[in-house]
């Protein structure tokens, strides 16, 4: 048995935050922020709305597209780096919000490659015969974790909030043609957030660490870019080879990386024409585990790809983890 995509859904919270709006707190100008990160607007979740709630809306859309109700779901795999609460994970909240049966709800952490980790895991569960219908969610509320002060000028404007969901089902014909995952722990500190940190005595979080802002993202984008430009073309090649698909057969490449201009450069380096690239961070900023499924759902909704088309999604980011998936829709 293989797995195939039965439905996709996405949700972006309505509140748009422009670079002009952010500029004051970051002590710069809107055009400068847009210039430095390539992002002009990003979305922000409402207070009280965590990633599970965003994912709920995306999941309802994905289930409707699949023509299924929540009772059909046999496993939830949820990827995020910004969970509703510390524990339990958003997968459990989503199980409740959707009204699924008491099926497994797994929470995975793979940062920007998180959705591909979740997708590969779901694909393996279906192929192993452990589940026939898996709901794979990626959602982030980065805005709750970001710093709104001048020292975050090279971090905060990159990120946005949102959720995407893919419903995978068992099928004799493969839809998920190949998944490839990698990680290299060299240079982990290039995308890092220290606190809360259970390794610290006497407490995982304290006032000193809080006042020092050690619970904010540390990001060294300049040093991540070269790695992104190297590994994205590599992993695309590896995944296509494993899927037995040529570049020309791929209708759309979904390239997921912090900086969409770097993602696009990596795509060009892989020999992909510009009009077949979606760089996920372009539309509404970078959403670590959510960018890939949102782009998939949006490309389908916009008619940019159709059932039967082959899509290749590749991601690189924190961890340093990266991967790719080749999908026949």
């Amino acid at each position: 048995m293989r797995s195939t995509i039965l439905g996709c859904g996405s949700y972006l919270p309505p509140r748009a935050v422009t670079s002009d709006e952010l500029a004051g707190a970051l002590a710069t100008t809107g055009p400068q922020l847009t210039e430095s990160t390539g992002v002009s607007t990003r979305r922000e979740a409402e207070d009280g709305e965590g990633p599970s709630q965003l994912a709920s809306r995306a999941a309802q859309q994905a289930l409707a597209a699949a023509g299924l109700g929540p009772e059909a779901v046999e496993l939830i795999v949820f990827a995020t780096m910004t969970p509703d609460i510390v524990f339990p994970g958003p997968g459990c909240f989503l199980q409740d919000q959707l009204g699924c049966r008491t099926v497994g709800a797994m929470d995975v952490r793979g940062q920007c490659a998180g959705f591909l980790v979740a997708l590969a895991t779901a694909d393996r569960f279906i192929r192993a015969g452990k589940a026939e219908c898996v709901l794979v969610a990626g959602a982030e509320v980065h805005s709750a974790a970001l710093e709104y002060s001048p020292r975050a000028v090279a971090v905060t404007p990159y990120f946005g909030d949102g959720a995407g969901v893919v419903v995978l089902g068992a099928s004799p014909e493969p839809g998920v043609l190949a998944t490839v995952l990698h990680a290299d722990p060299d240079g982990l500190e290039r995308f890092w957030c220290e606190f809360p940190a259970s390794r610290h005595l006497p407490s995982r979080m304290d006032i000193e660490a809080f006042r020092a802002g050690r619970h904010f993202y540390q990001l060294d984008a300049e040093r991540m870019h070269p790695q992104a430009e190297r590994v994205l073309p590599e992993v695309i090649g590896e995944a296509l080879e494993r899927a037995g698909v040529t570049r020309e057969e791929v209708a759309l490449f979904v390239l997921h990386y912090l900086d969409h201009r770097v993602a696009r450069r990596a795509g060009r380096a892989a020999g992909i024409p510009d009009d077949r690239i979606v760089a996920t961070a372009e539309a509404a900023g970078h959403m670590a585990a959510a960018g890939v499924p949102i782009a998939l759902a949006d490309a389908l909704a916009a008619g940019r790809v159709r059932r039967g088309d082959v899509v290749c999604a590749a991601a690189f980011g924190g961890g340093m983890a990266w991967g790719a998936a080749v999908l026949r829709l």
């Binding site: 207070d47 009280g48 709305e49 965590g50 910004t82 969970p83 509703d84 609460i85 510390v86 524990f87 339990p88 994970g89 997968g91 459990c92 199980q95 409740d96 919000q97 008491t102 099926v103 497994g104 709800a105 797994m106 929470d107 995975v108 952490r109 793979g110 940062q111 393996r124 192929r127 192993a128 452990k130 974790a145 995952l181 990698h182 990680a183 722990p185 060299d186 982990l188 995308f191 890092w192 957030c193 220290e194 606190f195 809360p196 940190a197 259970s198 390794r199 610290h200 005595l201 006497p202 407490s203 995982r204 979080m205 006032i207 809080f210 006042r211 924190g318 961890g319 983890a321 991967g323």
Partner: protein, 336 residues
């Protein structure tokens, strides 16, 4: 297309810090007593880290022992999974830090965050990858440092006395005999009860996710909260239910089980579950007396001790089961 193969545990290891915290030691920090703790939980002592170290640090010696015992080199791993609810840092995943400590690269490394059921959820992931040819050798580690994340004052005592630090690891690989190894895994959740056992802060439902006011004072939302009696009652029901589910999937009954290794949540829960299944004491493995509840680490620590003590032999039917925050619960059947 290649035929599915089973997976099996090739090697096990565990590591606990050498600092022993007895119930008497806890009475120095909070208003409690050895008698109260033992009566309600069966716990006599637990381990706490002595120096700054996180789950990935505790995981390293456990993983190395499991790799040695499996005869697998770290660089030959195809996948590294780490389960924890007390990660080393906020991001990235503790699996990435373990990958660095192991000195390897290339293979994926990610965290599975399913609290007390974490090891069984990871076992299901590892089994799925191996069965479908997606990986040959998978390292699965449950590791926790609870001692830096509990309120060690009288306010937090109901939760604090239960938890301990530690790590347990397993290396899984393919098993050609379909009657051996991991026979099946069974995963469940019920988010309706998420708030019965949780740590709330930082919370990405609020802007910002953590404030100075949230960190301060007794009853801070930084510490775990538990409605103990509620969790206890559900645990006994769900443990029993999922063990029956796993056995029924293979037309087996509790009488066929050679050893039950329940997640070490509370000795009283384990005893009630065993009683309900009519399992004699020698068929149930408990070590919570010495380690407390180590959430994702408890099952692999217990399994390693059970194997080391000769309580699991070739051909033994081993049932692993867990229940905890989420609520999540799970079971796995293994033919050794």
């Amino acid at each position: 297309m290649s035929e599915l193969v089973n997976s099996r545990i090739l090697g096990l290891g565990h590591h606990v810090p050498d600092r022993v915290m007895t119930n008497a030691d806890l009475t120095q920090l909070m208003d409690t007593s050895d008698e109260w703790i033992q009566q309600r939980t069966g716990i006599r002592e637990r381990r706490y880290i002595r120096e700054e170290s996180g789950p990935a640090d505790l995981a390293l010696p456990a993983a190395q022992e499991a790799l040695r015992s499996a005869g697998v080199k770290a660089e030959d791993l195809d996948l590294i999974l780490l389960g924890t609810l007390s990660p080393d840092v906020d991001s990235p995943a503790s699996a990435s830090l373990l990958q660095r400590r192991l000195g390897v690269r290339g293979m994926p490394a990610f965290d599975v965050r399913n609290q007390c059921s974490g090891f069984l959820y990871m076992l299901a992931v590892a089994d799925s990858f191996i069965r479908t040819g997606g990986a040959c050798h998978v390292l699965v580690v449950g590791s926790e440092v609870h001692s830096t994340g509990i309120d060690l004052s009288t306010v937090g005592r109901e939760v604090a006395v239960i938890f301990g630090d530690g790590a347990g690891a397993a290396v899984l690989g393919p098993e050609p005999d379909s009657r051996k190894g991991v026979l099946s895994t069974h995963l469940h959740s019920e988010g309706k009860f998420a708030e019965k056992l949780m740590i709330e802060v930082p919370t990405h439902r609020l802007h910002p996710r953590v404030t100075e006011a949230m960190l301060d004072g007794p009853g801070s939302r930084l510490w775990p909260r538990m409605e103990g009696r509620y969790v206890f009652k559900h645990a006994v029901t769900r443990f029993t239910e999922v063990i029956h589910e796993a056995l029924a999937a293979h037309q087996l009954t509790p009488a066929d089980v050679d050893l039950l290794i329940p997640h070490q949540a509370n000795l009283r829960i384990s005893q009630l579950v065993a009683m309900g299944l009519e399992l004699p004491e020698e068929k149930v493995f408990n070590n919570i007396q010495r380690y407390g509840n180590t959430t994702a680490a408890s099952v692999p620590i217990a399994l390693h001790e059970a194997v080391t003590e000769g309580r699991v032999r070739p051909g033994s039917l081993v049932c692993l089961a867990a229940f905890g925050a989420g609520f999540t619960w799970a079971a796995a059947l293994l033919r050794w």
